[in-house]
Symmetry: C2
Subunit: 163 residues, 2 copies
């Protein structure tokens, strides 16, 4: 069982995708995050839903969440207006603060994928066409997908020992 | 719109729930993590899927994921055997390393929840019966649930201004 067998299509956005479109995709698909790709479809980052919330909430409230109580509730209906004119690039944290998206190649094994996911504490890994920094995305594997496969006891090479 | 209106039932486990049961729940439900509750049903931690993977993967491989390549692929079919006899407590990181699960009360507003989620970078918050450290869990709210509500423009107090 290799990465290419486990990879499934996964929604992507680009740096210039509108912030609202990205937020809607996250809300609709109930994903741990969106994969951000560059113009060559190579994954460059993961955009978790919590980063979208960070853009929505004023900095002084992020620093002290109890201050949210002073905001008028009516403001909640308008809160997403701040997304207008903004892009995915505006929602991603700075490089140093950005959560790295682990990347695997099609021939990587289940154990390699699991080890990488565990080491990064990442809920998703991107599968790219080749272990080349600029290879395009072919899909992604979530922790749930991987656990499902490992628990079913069918994560081996696929060659049965019919001896 | 308050936490009590947004909370939905969420799978929980206890410290003594078997590791395999927890892993199966994560695999089946495709959740960002399971809520761990104590004997009074009070949430005490979140168990992300990546923590289950950490238990499965030998420490030397976690330290250097490229070593996963030296493990026989057949081992992948047996990897979950390590879960037998283990519990959720064995999978949770030590206190200092544990990701805190944000907790809100039924009357907390959408903005308070969003601010807390953003500050903790958490994909889920637990809703408890009262802002008391030992109050039982009544449900949870995921980032996707919250974004959905905020984007629909119906996150306000629910009292319409029909003026």
């Amino acid at each position: 069982m290799l990465a290419q067998d486990l990879a499934t299509p996964y929604p992507t956005v680009r740096m210039d995708t509108s912030a609202r479109e990205a937020a809607q995709l996250l809300a609709e698909r109930h994903l741990p995050g969106l994969i951000v790709v560059d113009k060559d479809d190579h994954p460059v980052a993961i955009l978790p839903g919590s980063q979208v919330l960070r853009l929505l909430i004023p900095t002084y409230v992020q620093d002290d969440p109890t201050l949210a109580r002073v905001l008028e509730e009516k403001y909640a209906d308008k809160i997403c207006d701040v997304l207008d004119g903004k892009t995915v690039a505006d929602m991603l944290p700075s490089d140093s603060d950005r959560k790295r998206l682990p990347v695997v190649a099609p021939n990587d094994t289940v154990l390699e994928i699991a080890a990488l996911m565990a080491a990064h504490r990442s809920p998703v890994v991107a599968v790219v066409e080749a272990r080349d920094r600029k290879a395009p995305l072919i899909g992604a594997i979530t922790t749930a997908d991987l656990l499902e496969r490992l628990l079913s006891g069918t994560a081996g090479s696929g060659t049965t020992d019919a001896s």
